[in-house]
Amino acid sequence: MSVETPKPKDYKSDLKPIWCPGCGDFGVLASLYRAFAELELDPAKTVIVSGIGCSSRLPGFVKTYGFHTLHGRPLPVAMGVKLANPELTVIAVGGDGDGFAIGIGHFPHAARRNIDITYLVMDNEIYGLTKGQVSPTSAVDHKAPTTPWGNLETPINTLAFAVACSASFVARGASFNTKALTELIVQGVEHPGFSFIDALSPCVVFHNTQDEWKNLVTDVAPDHDVADRTQAFDLALRGGFSLGVVYRERRPTLNERYAQLLGAAKTSDVDAMLDAFTAREGVAMGGPAAS
């Protein structure tokens, strides 16, 4: 990277995206390039971790480090990366199926641990890669190959879920509003803690919601207090088409807490540890019961 301020195109890899023309994920990728440039991220110190799905192919298109993992597992992999090297900027990405079906079990834990990563979900309310089946964010009555008579299930309200899980940064963006999405990604990366961004990102092939969503979205009201969790719930529950930051809270990240713990821990090494097992000294076991 040159000393000049980076341009979005500097983050483009040689690999051409394999997405269908018009796919929302292009808009998310473009926003990501811009956000990275704005943040002047060092590509060598940036890691994008993804799951499996159309959207999860994103790391290949960005000139940073990347880890294309398993369906549903980007969050715990990203946690390992961040804990092992706190210096890295870590971004987890994936689809709504990846994050809210198979991988949802990891979300509350990433959120409550407040791992300092940004989790960007490309939400198309459908399974793209496997050709259009319903996802946990699909609307009731939605017709898809596995719901020929309409979806019988209530979708997950991802924003309310994130607030409930104690995510410390919750926002919604849209692929067709790259300027705002860029800004959200910048804020999410800058936020110390777990940042969840749900990016509406239509699948133009299997569930083309582009025009419908464009009409539905509004901006979060300027008087919305992002520090007020009750207001955040209220906004999230009212329906998911307000774009902007829903909730933000500064609390210690897992890395910060661990650094504190490491600072307080006495230092030792394997030889000192072995001393505690010396047979003649009597090692720490259950020991005689207290009477």
Binding site: H68, G80, G105, Y258, T267, F277, G282, P288, S291
Partner: protein
């Protein structure tokens, strides 16, 4: 002096004032560690090893008694090995703790019980069958012991003395341990030291415990003599007392462990617990995850970021990790996974031992993912297996699975202190020094190992991926790519099959009776092999420490002269036997058992000898 009027070796009465002179007595020599005498009837000779089994209800002091005895024996200079079983529930249910101590190295926990301590009636009912023909019994008053055992059984007022002298029922363990010391002529000084250390600031409690100890000793002393143990030889060398789990955790720290993630599961939890306390002291991180999928996922993330990373689990957890094993194999991420096996299938027998995950470790997961599978043979070997596992993982960029089992994971053993100066750490090949434009994460190389770019290194940028990929890591599905990459991923392991793995071999090099096993059964088999060899049989044993890749040529060589190849293992379907047959094309006498208990040396000896007689 010792009472000469004993019957079948039993000293009656209290005449035992010269007990510490026992060291001078002639040791018996037959059977296993001289546990049984073929000497003159009634001659009082001290034993090289004694097997003590404590049994009762879980929660009533059996386990703590065993712990104290084990520590005291170790402290007193004895080689010691334990075995315990307990119910899956926290309170209630029968439990047992077996301690074998010897003045010379012992390899197994022994079978024939020399001294059975019954905390309750059920303990007698469940365990008296295990008593040796001369085995003695201590029992709490109230336990009903059949008349024919009266001569070698003594009541000990465990509850009463605990309350009267120890100040509480909880001092029962001190009474029990005292009674055992009385019977085996064990100096109580190390026990007193332990008590004083533990209650350094509570003199009253310490005194009460010691009073309970001596009261127990007096009651047990009534049986003293025949079970007396030879005094230990004074040793210079440093010894340590630890479990298989602890040895693995320490070995991992010695190997440079940076990151550990796990999810609690019996019998692997104490690795997670111990590292939670200790790893931060080396600057490392331990985290309890939401499940085993997250554990191994985060381990892969940490390793990808340059850390030496490990997780530990048991069978159910390994099942959840299967898909990630494939990712680690395909994306070529080093990691270490400990599987402390327990009885299966499903939740199975959480607190019992089994070796039934071998096939899963070798083949588990879809799509033929490379991995290394290791099986340490003893507590000491657990330490070195952890070191080797990290070196194999880093060197070949693969997941390494270490198979232990409940028996090995939880047993305490006195071992020589591992010499940490002998620990080598294999440095990972990274993108260091490679120009960015030349860098290929999955480059085909001579040894098939490619440089792994570590985030932070400017020239090593790549996308690690489980999707089939070309040398750059870009997705690619052509036949050339897939065949080439599968070949590369597996060829990395060739050095292991070619002799890099140091397998364990004992007895004849090419015996007529060849025994092949893996993991925790080693000690019992070794004692049986030594006994059979002493009796003139042509016998030897081969224990692969690395089972995947399987040492086909080594096994073929070893069995070249064999007229019998015995494969003992603790599982139902005979997984190792199938492996040996399938990989080496030799016929074997598979001896699988799956009763939740480890083999004893006697079990193996019978397999060898009884078969010889009937053959």
């Amino acid at each position: 002096m010792l009472c000469a009027s004993s019957v079948r070796g039993w000293s009656l009465g209290f005449a035992n004032d010269g007990r510490r002179t026992l060291a001078a007595r002639r040791p018996r020599s037959s059977g296993f560690g001289a546990a049984a005498g073929d000497d003159h009837e009634g001659a009082l000779v001290a034993r090289h090893s004694v097997v003590i089994r404590l049994a009762g209800e879980s929660g009533e002091g059996v386990i703590s008694s065993g712990d104290i005895l084990t520590q005291a024996a170790a402290r007193g200079g004895y080689w010691t090995q334990t075995f315990r079983t307990y119910p899956a529930e926290i309170k209630g249910g029968p439990c047992m703790y077996q301690v074998r101590m010897g003045d010379r190295k012992i390899y197994s926990h022994g079978r024939e019980v020399d001294l059975l301590v019954c905390f309750n009636q059920e303990a007698w009912d469940l365990h008296h069958d295990a008593l040796g023909s001369e085995g003695a019994i201590l029992y709490d008053t109230g336990v009903d012991i059949p008349d024919e055992y009266a001569e070698r059984a003594r009541p000990v007022r465990m509850e009463q003395l605990a309350k009267e002298l120890g100040g509480s029922l909880r001092a029962k363990n001190m009474v029990a341990v005292g009674a055992v010391s009385g019977v085996i002529d064990f100096d109580t000084a190390p026990i007193e030291e332990l008590v004083l250390r533990r209650y350094a600031h509570k003199q009253g409690v310490a005194d009460a415990n010691i009073a309970a100890l001596h009261a127990g000793e007096a009651e047990g002393g009534d049986l003293s003599g025949a079970l007396a143990i030879v005094d230990p030889v004074e040793v210079e060398e440093d010894r340590v007392l630890m479990s298989g789990n602890q040895a693995l955790a320490l070995g991992a720290v010695a190997a440079g462990l940076d990151y550990f993630a796990g999810y609690p599961i019996t019998p692997a939890s104490d690795i997670l617990e111990w590292l939670s306390a200790k790893l931060p002291q080396t600057g490392g991180i331990t985290i309890q995850c939401e499940d085993e999928i997250a554990s191994l996922s985060s381990v892969l993330g940490a390793s990808y970021a340059g850390a030496k990373a490990m997780t530990a689990t048991s069978g159910p957890g390994l099942s959840l990790m299967s898909e990630l094993l494939g990712l680690a194999g395909a994306a070529e991420i080093p990691c270490v996974i400990v599987d402390a096996q327990r009885g299966g299938p499903s939740t199975g027998l959480p607190t019992k031992t089994e070796q039934s995950d071998l096939a899963h470790a070798l083949y588990g997961g879809h799509g033929e993912a490379p991995r290394v599978v290791m099986a340490p043979v003893s507590v000491a070997d657990c330490f070195w297996a952890a070191v080797d596992a990290f070196n194999f993982a880093e060197r070949f960029q693969v997941p390494v699975i270490i198979l232990t089992d409940q028996g090995l994971a939880t047993r305490m053993e006195v071992i020589e202190r591992p010499d940490t100066s002998a620990v080598d750490r294999w440095p990972r090949v990274t993108a260091e020094g490679i120009a960015a434009e030349d860098y290929k994460r999955y480059e085909y190389t001579e040894d098939s190992v490619s440089p792994m770019g570590i985030p932070g290194q400017p020239s090593g940028q790549h996308v690690a991926t489980g999707i089939e990929h070309d040398e750059y890591g870009n997705p690619g599905y052509t036949p050339e790519i897939h065949v080439g990459m599968q070949r590369k991923r597996w060829a990395k392991l060739d050095p292991l099959a070619d002799g890099l793995a140091n397998h364990v071999h004992h007895g004849e090099e090419q015996p007529e009776i060849a025994i092949i096993g893996f993991g925790s059964t080693y000690g019992s088999v070794r004692e049986a092999v030594e006994r059979a060899a002493d009796e003139g049989l042509s016998i030897g044993m081969f224990y692969p420490r690395v089972l995947g890749p399987f040492p086909v040529e080594r096994v073929r060589e070893f069995t070249d002269n064999a007229r019998r190849v015995i494969v003992p293992e603790v599982n139902f379907t005979g997984q190792l036997a199938r492996l040996v047959r399938g990989e080496c094309g030799i016929s074997v006498d598979g001896r699988a058992k799956s009763d939740g208990l480890p083999f004893t040396a006697e079990d193996i000896y019978e397999l060898i000898v009884v078969q010889e007689v009937t053959a």
